[in-house]
């Protein structure tokens, strides 16, 4: 699977993800969650790295809040699905998403705090924070997949 294909496909899918999140029924949310957390060929993990890169490029070149907010929300939701799937399996899908978002924000804050303690939180450090946070949540999701068989 090439990265080019992945980008086009997933960028095309992103409005669908947003729309589904906005007015999804429970079933659609479960389906979306299953697709993301299955993370076939690390598709969504790579996609969240690409979103992190997009956030970085936006900061350097465009400084557009529209690009920033939409890329960030999709980035957070993908990783929230990962963490919600791992940590809150007994909860309803809606709670998995909400609590997963909270835990992912905590993770972002924690990595940011560590980076701030040892270095500074400039733009490049932010990119590192986004990559670390995405990697941790992706690994946790992979581990859960491994446990589940």
């Amino acid at each position: 699977m090439s990265v080019g294909k992945l980008v086009i496909k997933d960028i095309c899918a992103s409005p669908y993800i947003c729309l589904t999140m906005m007015n999804s029924s429970r079933l659609e949310l479960i389906r979306l969650e299953r697709t993301i957390t299955r993370d076939k060929n690390l598709r969504y993990s790579l996609f969240s790295y690409l979103l992190a890169a997009m956030i970085l490029l936006n900061l350097f070149f465009f400084q557009s809040p529209i690009i920033g907010i939409s890329a960030s929300l999709i980035y957070v939701f993908i990783n929230a699905f990962f963490l919600g799937h791992v940590l809150f399996r007994s909860q309803e899908p809606f709670f998995r998403l909400i609590l997963g978002s909270l835990v992912f924000l905590m993770l972002l804050g924690f990595v940011g705090w560590l980076v701030l303690t040892v270095y500074d939180l400039d733009v490049m450090a932010l990119f590192v924070v986004l990559l670390i946070a995405a990697t941790v949540s992706s690994l946790m999701n992979r581990r859960m997949k491994y446990i589940d068989g």
Partner: protein, 613 residues
């Protein structure tokens, strides 16, 4: 599932409410009440009225919670939307510190007070660093200025996650989905909870994590699995990372849960004794940690004291332990609001206790007992801090937020039980009991009774609850306040920043300092505003106001190693317009006029150091 008409109307009213708040934004405002659009409160009342109806209906829990989250964000965003730089409180100081991390500069300190040996540890773990990290990460991700992100940071997080935590807590306490949804809204009916959800300070962030930790502590007691244990520990750690008060309280309650759990299987006579010892031990952690806080932070003088106990009359001591500082000049409604929640909690806890006594194996028995113990720990801590301690770094009433978190689920339980009892009243009078001879009279009576029950259930109860929530808003958001940071003060600070190439210092009052903190940060070496507590800054401003002279500006420049000095004077901050006009008239060359706000209420004068060869 298609939305019902009531839900569509509710969403429409919420949209209108957001719009009404947005158009209430003024460049000059003291309190939100003096600028709030008059149509806002009626619109909000009807929206809350409808929401209570929706919450007591059979609608899906997810929808109910989404509706609650939307209104919760609205109720906590007043400061952020209406005031140009948010509320003039700790949140502006926090923003000043966060700005230094966002703009990547090392704050310039003019004086270096002696610091305790463990202060580096405190500096590393202090709450505003964690909040700063998260705010800066989000601001950069969204590509927005840190001011906007900071103002909406806690209101948005509180609005989303506190109702969810309230729901989970209620479920663990044995409540149904409907009671959980009701509790998630009732958490916004407690004044202190509303206020702390509206300001972006580390303490508020700590409260959010504390509540999540409490919810998972209850789940741990209920399910006893390692995942709940991990989550309660993790949330407790982040609560500690956000603010030491919420962290210590969270650790106290986790210890209480572990002690409570370990007493299972002991003889009945020892259980009560052990419970009392556990409560005393956990309640002692906060006061003791405050005393030893001086090892970590400079200017920390908290100590035990019997002064209040010996000096105050007995009725004042009693009043203080129940109502805190509210006994000094608060109105009746405020006192009632502070009492209603806890009173409902106590009644409901006692009621549940009696109910559970009959059924020893009931699932929520442990969680209800633990919640009661946690409530006692918080109450004991409040009394100890209020009556037996002195020189605390915060006001003791902050502990009421913890109490409110426990109160909301029980208050919801009580309200739901009352509405259920009323509903049952209509069921007891069945048509089978009617006699044919008196059919007409009885049908009339029956109809009247059913109608009144319907009215109580669908009109009176939601009206009372909506009224309670609106009244809480009225108490939570201050009725009296100084003039908040104005738009033209922010514009002046931005103007100075944009038009100055060299390093500069600004001599101004505390209000312009707040505006400076919002735009350029605190103690920025290239755009220096004196700290809001700086005696030097106050003295320089006072000297410039009484005797405008380049001498003061030069000394400020020398102190801060800057090349330009500005003197900012704002008319509403002076005692009278005449005083303002006099000072402006007295300012002569070599000071030059640099900027005048469009409404001519603010003047900025500049002075550059003469070149030395």
């Amino acid at each position: 599932m298609p939305l019902r008409y009531g839900e569509i109307l509710y969403l429409f009213l919420i949209g209108i409410s957001f719009y009404l708040i947005a158009i209430s934004r003024k460049e000059e405002a003291r309190t939100i009440w003096e600028v709030l659009n008059p149509a806002f409160i009626p619109a909000l009342f009807i929206a809350v009225f409808l929401l209570f109806g929706i919450l007591l209906s059979s609608e899906k829990t997810t929808y109910k919670l989404i509706f609650v989250i939307i209104i919760s964000i609205l109720l906590h965003s007043f400061f952020a939307i209406i005031f140009p730089a948010g509320d003039s409180s700790g949140q502006q100081i926090t923003l000043g510190r966060i700005r230094s991390i966002y703009d990547n500069f090392e704050p310039l300190t003019l004086t270096s007070p002696s610091k305790p040996i463990l202060s580096p540890l405190y500096e590393m773990f202090r709450g505003d660093r964690f909040q700063a990290a998260l705010s800066v990460v989000l601001a950069r991700m969204f590509s927005l200025d840190i001011l906007r992100v900071h103002l909406f940071f806690v209101p948005a997080l509180w609005g989303i996650f506190v109702p969810v935590a309230a729901f989970l807590t209620t479920k663990s306490l044995g409540g149904s989905d409907s009671i959980g949804a009701l509790a998630s809204l009732l958490i916004s009916a407690f004044p202190y909870s509303i206020y702390f959800g509206a300001i972006s300070v580390p303490n508020s962030l700590g409260f959010i994590f504390f509540f999540c930790s409490f919810a998972f502590t209850l789940q741990y007691l209920e399910a006893r699995n390692s995942k709940s244990l991990f989550l309660m520990m993790a949330f407790s750690f982040f609560s500690f990372l956000s603010h030491f008060l919420t962290g210590i309280m969270s650790v106290s309650l986790i210890l209480l849960a572990l002690l409570y759990k370990s007493q299972k299987g002991e003889e009945q006579k020892w259980v009560l004794a052990r419970a009392i010892v556990s409560i005393v031990f956990c309640a002692s952690l906060l006061p003791l940690s405050l005393v030893y806080f001086k090892l970590f932070r400079a200017n920390s003088y908290a100590a035990f004291s019997l002064e209040k106990l010996f000096e105050l009359p007995i009725n004042e001591i009693f009043g203080l332990s129940l109502f805190g500082d509210l006994i000094y000049g608060s109105n009746l409604w405020t006192l009632v609001l502070v009492v209603v929640g806890p009173a409902l909690v106590l009644l409901c806890m006692i009621g549940l206790g009696f109910k559970l006594r009959r059924n020893h194996h009931a699932a929520p028995k442990e969680t209800v007992t633990f919640a009661f113990m946690a409530f006692l720990v918080i109450s004991v801590d409040f009394i100890v801090l209020k009556l037996f301690m002195d020189k605390l770094p915060f006001n003791e009433e902050r502990l009421w937020v913890f109490r409110d978190f426990i109160a909301a689920p029980f208050a919801a339980q009580a309200i739901y039980t009352v509405s259920l009892l009323i509903r049952r009243l209509s069921d007891t009078d069945s048509l089978r009991s009617l006699s044919l001879n008196h059919l007409r009279t009885l049908v009339k009576t029956h109809a009247l009774r059913s109608l009144s029950i319907l009215a109580i259930l669908n009109i009176i109860i939601p009206s009372i609850l909506a009224g309670w929530l609106i009244l809480s808003l009225n108490v939570a958001y201050p009725q009296v306040a100084p003039l908040q940071t104005t738009q033209y003060e922010l514009d002046a600070v931005k103007y100075i920043e944009e038009r100055t190439d060299q390093k500069y210092v600004v001599i101004c009052d505390i209000w312009v300092t707040f505006a400076g903190e919002a735009i350029v940060g605190i103690s920025n070496p290239s755009a220096y505003y004196f700290d809001e507590n700086s005696q030097l800054g106050i003295a320089l401003f006072s000297n410039m106001s009484h005797e405008p002279s380049p001498e003061w500006m030069l000394s400020a420049m020398n102190l801060t190693d800057t090349a330009v000095a500005y003197f900012v004077l704002s008319e509403p901050r002076m005692r009278s317009p005449e005083e303002f006009n006099n000072i402006v008239a007295n300012i002569k060359e070599p000071l030059s006029l640099f900027y005048v706000s469009p409404n001519e209420k603010l003047y900025v004068f500049s002075y550059s150091a003469p070149l030395q060869f």
